[in-house]
């Protein structure tokens, strides 16, 4: 499938959403209403600050496009866009990761080059995170500056090469502050040693980093794919500048409500991390008001992205 063959016509309409539930219909309307209005108007999505009819855009804060070593990368990228169409997601903040970690400088530069091309293939639809390994020092900083200032990327993606409290990470955080862009940081907390990711950060590390850099815009990644989500939420309570990404494959009931209660809805940002129905379903299910869901689905992230300085 070539990207130009994509038809942006969402399959989940307000009507099909609503037929399943009256009591949750208000929540569903946030996403389904947008999908329906796009369907009615035939308009493509993206390129403006708000969605159709002035609604807040639905923005997936955590998505990935495919490494080009994957033979089906182009078709798989298109599948992601089509899935977003089906679910009423307007924009996807994406990164491309190297095939293995730690990433080399050549490796993350290559990924970011592909990311820049993807932003041109899906203008206004795909927003780019610049992925770097902070261990490359000046090379990583130059890459961030090139991507943010020269290529229009919206933020920085950090993975598990270093725990975020290690000093080697600090210059990256300081540059993100200077540029006014968020850092989406891979995170998870398990009650056993994660041998495959010995330097993974968790909510506690991100809270510590936020205390050192209160101006930093940190997003703690995939609370629903990062181990004990109750631990993570509680660890972030005292770090008001850290936002929590709701993505992940785990569909445990109550996670969104607990995060909203402990952290406040202003600190929650909707994400999928490729678990599409899990991500949309948990927001649809959450026992929160429509305005609160609007904030989570896109309002909070849009506000964050407006703090960009260049």
């Amino acid at each position: 499938m070539h990207w130009t063959s994509l038809i942006r016509r969402p399959r989940v309409t307000r009507r099909t959403f609503l037929k399943h539930s009256v009591t949750v219909s208000v929540a569903l309307g946030i996403m389904a209403g947008r999908a329906a209005s796009r369907e009615e108007s035939g308009q493509p999505v993206g390129g403006t600050d708000s969605g159709p009819r002035g609604q807040t855009k639905v923005i997936d804060c955590h998505a990935h496009l495919n490494h080009r070593s994957r033979s089906t990368w182009e078709a798989d990228d298109c599948k992601l866009i089509k899935a977003a169409d089906n679910l009423g997601i307007d924009q996807l903040c994406c990164s491309i990761l190297t095939r293995s970690q730690p990433a080399t400088a050549d490796g993350f530069r290559e990924c970011n080059q592909w990311m820049a091309e993807a932003m041109r293939r899906f203008p206004g639809r795909v927003l780019g995170y610049c992925y770097v390994n902070p261990g490359y020092g000046q090379e990583a900083l130059e890459e961030i500056r090139r991507c943010i200032e020269g290529r229009g990327f919206v933020g920085v993606k950090l993975y598990n090469e270093y725990t975020c409290t290690e000093p080697v990470v600090f210059p990256t955080v300081e540059l993100a502050i200077e540029l006014g862009v968020p850092i989406l940081h891979h995170a998870g907390h398990a009650h056993y040693f994660p041998e495959e990711q010995p330097r993974i950060s968790d909510g506690g590390h991100l809270a510590e980093l936020a205390r050192r850099y209160p101006q930093a815009m940190l997003i703690c990644a995939h609370v629903c794919g990062g181990g004990d989500w109750e631990w993570t939420i509680k660890a972030l309570r005292g770090a008001p500048s850290v936002l929590l990404d709701t993505s992940g494959s785990v569909t445990d009931e109550g996670v969104v409500e607990m995060a909203a209660q402990v952290l406040g809805v202003d600190r929650l940002v909707f994400g999928c991390d490729m678990s599409m129905t899990a991500a949309v379903g948990r927001i649809r299910a959450a026992n929160l008001s429509v305005p609160d869901k609007e904030k989570i689905l896109g309002g909070n992230l849009a506000k964050l992205l407006r703090r960009r300085k260049s």
Binding site: V12, S21, Y192, G227, V250, T251, G281, R282, A285
Partner: protein
Amino acid sequence: MILDVNAYLGHFAFRQLQHNTAASLLQLMDAKRIDKAIVSSASAITYRNAQAGNEELAAEVKDHRDRLIPFAVINPFYAGWQDDLKICHEDFGMSGLRLYPKWHNYRLSDRCCLDLVNAATERGMVISVPIRVEDKRQRSWLVDVPDVPLDELAALVKACPKARFVLLNGLGYAKLPLGHKDNGLPVNYLIEISRLSALLDNEIGQLIASLGAERLVLGTGMPFSYPDPALLKLEVLAASKEDKEKIGWQNIAQWLRL
């Protein structure tokens, strides 16, 4: 009509559950327009004597049998399981089982497990096996319970061709014999979709193509899980209305003669 094959009542040892009484689960089902649900005791997963959980479940669903269909949790390695099975079937009217081989520390190939499966089959009971209870990354420091390997399940369905199995909370079938057409296995198992993808890789679509929609069933995992993700999978699935009806309730209703 929606019939959820994967629901629970009671407590789980490692996380507080909401909607875990009959009244509150029914309230949630009303909100999600789920007509009926097969329920088992979440408490029985970690009770040493699982029958205590079955007794709690029987009392809880007694006045709601039109919508809540109780399944028994039986540990075939525990004393008196034959008596428990008889009581659950004859006295409590339970029409199926849920097995937890990894939590209850036995193998699906153990003689006692095969004896339980055969005894339940003679009674016409359906046997469901949750591949996992929760994501292993969030497991407690107290336990390290692995998922049930799908090849062990394949061996079980082959060893007990007259039994009828429902495989819950699994994924990755499409790449394994359980998800292949002409796989040499009896046509005696249904696959529940709560962890399968309906978009991107679309494992549900792959299984419809290989096994047919007659082999898939809807389950949500509530109240461990939000019900909406599984319901949403069925909504966005690229399949005919007829196939969605089969998955949503007809296949399991046929097995349970509802």
